[in-house]
């Protein structure tokens, strides 16, 4: 049994605090007086001091590594380039999608069911066939216009009727020759009315494959009858309506392009939004 074990607990705490200089001056003075008189107390103090000094022998260890934090550890996300735009990608994608749907609905309502944008090629074929039927059934009543008669010599040099059956937007060289570039007025039919031309102008540039096939098949089939001179002479009458084609600028393709644009934007923004979420 050491001197420390023989001490009352209160004395033990006083000795410990005395070693650390944690007693008040009055308490320290009283303990000093006791230490001079009580040998066991002084012995206990020496033991406690040796213990304290022994613990002080433990060295300060060098940390095995640095403990600094990385942004990932701290939960800090570096702002990515273009983040201010991408943070709204979801909302923009939704708006673009809604705009595309709205334009689509508007287009359907404005054009009616028969002008639905979903099937332009069959409708074009129907329009062509309807016009051809109309020209075939009507009797030939050549309009004796002076312009037609003047253009007759030129048309005489024109290629056969099959060649004249060209797509509406034929090459400018052909059109400069004064050749009828539309099916109207062919086969002795009357010249195209303004309504017909407008109906045709609905699909002037977007000649769908089905329409091309129709035109190609029509060209491949032999001409039903030799074209009368007067029939070809009426063809130039179509030049005047043709010149008005740009005025009948189609509205549907514009809306269609807007729809495509908005739908594309919606897809791209949605993809960017998903990519951004996956990276987080």
């Amino acid at each position: 049994m050491t001197g420390l074990h023989r001490l009352p607990r209160r004395d033990l705490e006083k000795l410990s605090a005395y070693l650390d200089g944690e007693l008040t001056p009055a308490e320290a003075a009283r303990l000093d007086a006791r230490l001079r008189e009580e040998a066991p107390l002084a012995e206990a103090l020496a033991e406690m001091r040796a213990t304290k000094r022994a613990l002080g022998l433990l060295p300060m260890l060098r940390p095995p590594r640095n403990f600094t934090l990385t942004p990932e550890m701290a939960g800090i996300r570096e702002p990515r380039h273009g983040y201010p735009v991408l943070r709204w990608a979801s909302a923009l994608a939704t708006l673009a999608f809604m705009a595309a749907c709205g334009l689509d609905a508007f287009g359907v309502l404005s054009r009616g069911v028969s002008f639905g944008a979903s099937a332009p090629a069959p409708m074009a074929a129907e329009m062509q066939s309807a016009v051809l039927e109309a020209t075939a059934t009507e009797p030939a009543n050549p309009p004796p216009t002076a312009a037609a008669e003047e253009s007759a010599p030129i048309l005489a040099e024109a290629p056969p009727a099959a060649d004249a059956f060209l797509p509406p937007m034929a090459s400018p060289e052909i059109r400069s020759l004064g050749i009828a570039v539309t099916p109207f007025g062919l086969g002795g039919g009357p010249p195209a009315t303004e309504g017909d031309l407008e109906a045709q102008a609905v699909f002037p540039t977007e000649t769908p494959p089905s329409e091309a096939e129709i035109l190609a098949s029509a060209a491949a089939t032999p001409a039903p009858a030799p074209l009368p001179a007067e029939g070809t002479a009426r063809a130039p009458a179509t030049e005047a309506p043709l010149s008005r084609l740009p005025l009948a600028t189609p509205r549907v393709p514009t809306i269609r392009w807007a729809e495509i644009g908005f739908a594309g934007a919606a897809i791209v923004l949605a993809a960017l939004s998903l990519r951004g979420r996956r990276k987080r």
Partner: protein, 204 residues
């Protein structure tokens, strides 16, 4: 930049400022963790966890001793680790592969200087391990107070702030810790230098 400025910057989210505080105090924090737990890897984990927790809760620091605040966090991290071990005791591979001489943390490289004789270095190493062994056998509350007072040299009020206990409790725990340590160190008295040797009889 002084410490209060670094703390303010870090509280605004400046990670660089916080990392400068880490570099300034990591040695004290790690040493406390190592002396409480007694293992290098676990002490490193507790230290890292403490700094991470400190960064996340930095806005809650209301002034006073910043290092004391850090030491309190790492002390709690060490307590959590030791409680976890108590619930699920396991022997680490590191311990199984060690020789009887103990862990490598306090090996010759970390304790000796190039000028020290090999014999003296070995004696110092033995002594350090003996003292650490005595600390490891103390109750956790006693151990922390003894380390803070006698190994790291903090005063009672700082220790009270770190352990979150009244001053009287700190005083009592430290006295009892020293009594137990004295008994433990008696078994290693031949390792202690003569000036530090504990005698059964008080010096005359």
């Amino acid at each position: 930049m002084d410490e209060p400025s670094l703390i303010r910057e870090a509280q605004r989210g400046d990670l660089d400022a916080f990392n400068r505080l880490v570099l300034a105090h990591q040695s004290q924090v790690y040493n406390l963790a190592y002396r409480i737990i007694g293992e290098t890897d676990a002490a490193s984990d507790a230290t890292q966890e403490a700094f991470l927790s400190a960064y996340r809760n930095l806005r809650g620091f209301r002034g006073g001793s910043f290092v004391g605040w850090l030491l309190r966090i790492v002390t709690n991290a060490c307590y959590d680790e030791l409680r976890r071990r108590k619930r699920r005791p396991a022997i680490s591979l590191e311990v199984l592969t060690e020789t009887d001489s103990g862990p490598d943390e306090e090996g010759p490289a970390s304790l000796t200087s190039p000028q020290e004789r090999p014999e003296a270095a070995a004696e110092r190493l033995e002594l350090s391990r003996a003292i650490q062994n005595c600390l490891d056998h103390l109750p956790l509350e006693f151990r922390t107070v003894a380390i803070l007072a006698d190994v790291q040299g903090y005063d009672y009020s700082e220790i009270a702030a770190v352990v979150g206990a009244p001053l009287g409790t700190v005083k009592s725990r430290l006295a009892r810790a020293r009594l137990r340590l004295r008994d433990c160190l008696q078994r290693f008295r031949e390792l202690l230098p003569a000036a530090f040797r504990l005698e059964d009889k008080a010096p005359s």
